[in-house]
Amino acid sequence: MEMPRPNPEVLARKQTVVSRLLRVLPQDAVIHDPAETRAYECDALTAYRCPPMLAVLPSSTAEVADVLRICNEEGVPVVPRGSGTSLAGGALPTADCVILGIARMNEVLEVDYDNRFIRVQTGRTNQSVTGAVEEDDFFYAPDPSSQLACAIAGNIAMNSGGAHCLKYGVTTNNLLGVTMVMMDGNVVEIGGAHLDAGGLDLLGVICGSEGQLGVVTEATLRILRKPEGARPVLMGFDDNEVAGQCVSDIIKSGILPVAIEFMDTLCIKACENFAHAGYPDCTALLIVEVEGSEPEIDYQLSKIIEIAKRHNPVELRESQSAEESAKIWLGRKSAFGAMGQMNDYMCLDGTIPVSSLPEVLRRIGELSEDYGLPVGNVFHAGDGNMHPLILFDANKPGDLEKCEAFGADILRLCVDVGGCLTGEHGVGIEKRDLMTHQYDPADLEAQMAVKDVFDPNWLLNPAKVFPLDVSEARRDAQIAAE
């Protein structure tokens, strides 16, 4: 993965930057010893590593503002970091950057059930947002698989989704307002507890901008009352195409499950060994979950099961208890970890129109044979968000490159059938150079024009999202401005 050459002038000013930062931050919040900065050398996309020049751990919006103002004045690139769980390299440092870690800012600022929102500092983890309100039977809906560790800051940067967004939407649909620090140190408030933007929907463009427009330090999030209950049903099929047709038929029937998850043989086996959820041995497994009161669940599941039966499932099993449901979900949410026990893997995230599912799975199978690398498929079938996991051996020369090429072929395939490169993980560095396959130069220019407005010097989260050659002129201008 090509990264821009570190700016020697910035590296030469390291001591100046450190001493300026130490004037606004406590000693333990400025990490400059190379032995310690190494801890920030990668995120969950571990194939790529680069220790940053420095890392800082501010504790307040005011401290974040100080850091950004100083970095802006010194021309130092800043890479914001939530919990470092990005699968796309969204928090990968450059050698001349300051990592701005938000983890110390994890307070709940306000909980308001009457107006159904919570306001938190964004270093708080996704799961602990729900944790703050679940005693009162509320929850925060977006549920990425990494929800135990991932921070709201990263969720906003990547517009994270999860298994249950078929019903509840992704981060952008549950984000009401932000406090954001601009690269020049100015603090802006956008949105709030009320609905809709009064003017242009800046909140909409900030969410999913991968930390390139500003550093979000506080967020107002929509919380919902927990449904009375939820229950999954497992459906096994001996054919991917039939499973795909079943998904489409369920959706067309008028019942909208909260989640429809799909796993293929390789993933089923890996997850079963990991979670002992009683997954059947089959080609394609669907986990379909519905919510409501007991009679409502019974009614919905009976209709769903009726549809499934028309497709001759090899297995059809309703969860019988809360423990069983938990195991079923544990298996699904552990898919990446379980596959990781088999080998190194690269997780992709393309989205396709649901109708293209059989075709895309068939093509992935063919590519897998061509490349000689196994691939497991686990994904959110209701919304077409795929997660092919390509297994490779990082210690085997050439395997990573082969895996990258295979991955790129799959993502191009997703775009070619009418889908996109990434459904919920973000572009980061991983898919940066494929952006031209989905977007024309004018499309990318329009996006970069937004960055020009928010971060004119192109210092925030450099070398992500846009292909290096496409953003080169802007980054050069930034270095020339030094």
């Binding site: 059930y113 601009m182 929907d201 009161s293 919304d383 968000n385 993980h425």
Partner: protein, 366 residues
């Protein structure tokens, strides 16, 4: 000007020498320069996949045509776009492009989300005549910046939309409405809020002070609706007398379109606030008539012509939009809530990038 294709539109915009007003069906009272670009020539449903819950259409496609296509498959636009014609006294035919450009959502916004939440992709021609696309037709897409949201509600000021992709949802089997008799706004908001924070999935929560009724809608399959209606009755017990309303669909259509103000003299304002702030704010309005939607978070106010409602309200968290007024009032007060200086700087910056010559609905949004 009335282009028939996107390419033709791009050429027209590139060749513009004077400001233009972008017109869809012309029903939403967006006024501007005398010269117009009308998008009705860009019409047709390009793709509709019920099993994928997605529809793609040219912007000039009549909303009614889209709704009919969805209806045939038992689906709908869940954000329930309002029809402005009765309120504004406009003619014309609402288009899907107009709905998106103004980000218009109705009562179900409180549960399902706004128009912008259902918008999956856009194609548009920017102020220089450049064709740009963003998003796509799949439900989850975080590839690059989300200009889709930015375009929703930008009222033609960033570009002329040519094609939109939308997520659709199954149409509920049945719907039922409870009316709770309440003495005042405070009690009404309390009732709506109690229902909205219950697990019974309320899809409409409004209050009409004229008849003192807080209204709650529940939708879904029959058994579920019946169950939730009963549960809600016990949640709301003690607040006021509860009755079931028979013609639920007509009632919510009237609320959606603010029928209570139709044909009445005065300016119309639309205020978005945190619901618990509503009783205080409503008391300061000195309105001729009010109507509350979105659990109280949306206030419709009918006030005497020329009233500077923002001055009357003072600082508050949220925004007030002038929906209906004489052109001179709209000019003086501005249709949209003025924004804080740093936000204004960002929106001006974006507008300048997308429409550097300032020719598309200039000044409309401030």
């Amino acid at each position: 000007m009335k282009p028939e294709t996107e390419a033709e539109l791009a050429e027209m915009v590139a060749g513009l020498t004077e400001p233009v007003n972008i017109v869809g069906g012309g029903t939403r009272g967006i006024t501007g320069p005398a010269a117009t670009i009308e998008t009705v020539g860009l019409s047709g449903i390009a793709l509709y996949e019920p099993g994928a819950l997605t529809i793609v259409a040219q912007v000039g496609t009549p909303l009614a045509r889209i709704e009919a296509a969805l209806e045939a498959e038992g689906q709908q636009l869940a954000f329930e776009p309002m029809d402005h014609r009765g309120l504004l006294g406009t003619g014309g035919t609402p288009t899907i492009g107009g709905v998106v450009a103004t980000n218009i959502s109705g009562p179900r916004r409180i549960q399902a989300g706004a128009c912008r939440d259902f918008l999956l992709g856009v194609r548009f021609v920017d102020g220089t005549g450049q064709v740009v696309k963003n998003g796509g037709r799949v439900m989850k897409n975080v590839t690059g910046y989300d200009l889709v949201k930015l375009m929703a509600g930008s009222c033609g000021t960033l570009g002329v939309l040519t094609e939109v992709s939308l997520k659709v949802l199954p149409k509920p089997e049945v719907s039922a409405t409870l009316a709770i008799q309440v003495p005042d706004t405070t009690t009404a908001i309390r009732a709506l809020s109690a229902a909205l924070k219950s697990p019974f999935e309320v899809s409409g929560a409004a209050y009409d002070p004229q008849d003192g009724q807080a209204l709650l809608r529940v939708e879904g399959f029959a058994e579920s609706v019946a169950y939730r209606v009963e549960q809600l009755k016990s949640v709301l017990a003690g607040i006021g007398e509860i009755a079931e309303v028979s013609d639920s669909a007509a009632l919510w259509r009237a609320l959606r379109d603010v029928a209570a103000f139709h044909g009445k003299d005065g300016d119309v304002w639309r205020i978005s606030v945190k619901p618990s702030d509503t009783p205080d704010l409503a008391a300061r309005l000195e309105a001729k008539q009010t109507l509350f939607d979105w659990g109280g978070g949306l206030i419709w106010a009918l006030v005497p012509n020329g009233t500077d409602l923002r001055a009357r309200l003072g600082a508050f968290e949220g925004h007030a939009t002038l929906v209906r007024a004489e052109a001179s009032t709209a000019e003086t007060l501005g249709r949209f809530q003025p924004e804080a200086a740093p936000i204004q700087a960002l929106t001006n910056g974006i507008r300048h990038k997308f429409d550097p010559r300032g020719l598309l609905n200039p000044g409309l949004m401030g």
